[in-house]
Symmetry: C2
Subunit: 217 residues, 2 copies
DNA sequence: CCTCGTTGATTGAGCGCTCGTTCATAACGA
DNA sequence: TCGTTATGAACGAGCGCTCAATCAACGAGG
């Protein structure tokens, strides 16, 4: 029985405020450890220790170790979404909004490198039924780019050569951010973050400014 | 002490042919299980069992469970490289070669979906010093695209707007393939493999046909 | 002001079990 | 028979999780 499936608290603790606090502490401790050593190599005792209470207490606020992973994934996604959302103040044109959004999104990805990697590594360790729940969070970010692209298409500042292009390009942009994190060993040798942003933005915008097809010269 | 760091065999077995055979069996069994249950949740006994010998025998041909992971990663990368390489018969122009290469590469990625995911998930579980070794394998595939792009640039069939573009676009193409695997839950809802290939190829080639910068209309 | 029972929260030793690894022994082949 | 290879019971470290015991805070009763 997983946390997101039940409405009430899985413990005997009465003070719901405490539950929130403790779970925050658990997540905070777990994120650090999972990034450092991975989910499987981190012990529940370590998590409790870093959160400054005992394993007994830990298990008052969760039901299984996998619950912690679920809480962590949820936290990371909501943190990502929050940061990206507050970074995107819609500019006047869809095109400018997109430029803006890509810039801020890639910077957020840079800041949250380790968290993004964590998601990639450990999502598979979630119990089957939570996975789809976590994936839904993921797709909200892609959705944001889809919205921006649609706006640009409608106000005429972005041109699409293919009618299915919006979905695809939105995914491509999302992955651009992840790519910066999981290929950092290569990419940081060749580019600074600023260069990376500039170049990738240029590629995306060039596509969205295309005047014709791709006939060879 | 890991396998790739030592020249000789980590066991007492004398017949080197047998070592190769057994290791092939181990890898074959492990790949299946790792894909299914992940590295940590797969036991050495299961691997031995599926390879049709006992744990004792297993440990005659490896020194630790992590050795198996290393062998598996190496196998997957070499398999990928082999398949991609044999799929790319250089056409007359760099541009046609690229088209060809993207097509075949994406199809290989589709066939090896689970293997690619496995690499993403478990590379981090490798002991620190083997990681860089495994990453080097990864970068050979990107290197192939760099070569093709360079050829196209030289023979004039591909145009680059930025002098650093080759590296970046090569990485982008490589990731396009991975993206098809780790976002398949989203992408396969919207596109067939053929559509995906066609659209992404079109995006890449459009960029490489650009006649001017990205000035807004 | 003190006492003591109650209640919610915390503790950590300990349970049951799994897993990676080893090694004495058996089986095999020449 | 002797060298090589295979076996699987045994080992012991370590893990997730439980629960009887403990603690701290508080308020009613004397």
């Amino acid at each position: 029985m997983l946390i997101h499936q039940q409405k009430d608290i899985p413990t005997l603790i009465k003070d719901t405020g405490l539950v929130e606090t403790r779970r925050r502490q658990i997540v905070q401790a777990a994120v650090d450890l999972f990034i450092q050593k991975g989910f499987h190599k981190t012990t529940t005792r370590e998590i409790a220790g870093r959160a400054n209470f005992s394993i007994g207490t830990l298990y008052e606020y969760i039901q299984s170790k996998e619950d912690i992973l679920y809480l962590v994934c949820e936290f990371i996604h909501s943190e990502m979404e929050k940061q990206v959302k507050e970074a995107i103040k819609p500019a006047d044109t869809g095109r400018d909004t997109l430029k803006n959004a890509i810039d801020r999104y890639l910077r957020v990805c840079d800041l949250m490198q380790d968290h993004i990697l964590l998601i990639y590594r450990e999502t598979a360790s979630l119990p089957g039924d939570s996975i789809s729940y976590v994936l839904r969070n993921e797709s909200r970010i892609t959705g944001m780019f889809e919205d921006i692209l649609t706006r640009g298409k409608d106000d005429g500042t972005l041109k699409l050569r293919h009618h299915r292009g919006i979905t695809l390009i939105a995914h491509n942009i999302t992955v651009l951010g992840h790519m910066w994190t999981f290929r950092r060993w290569f990419l940081k040798k060749a580019f600074t973050l600023d260069e990376y942003i500039e170049l990738q933005t240029s590629l995306v915008l060039n596509e969205l400014s295309s005047h014709n097809g791709d006939g060879p010269p």
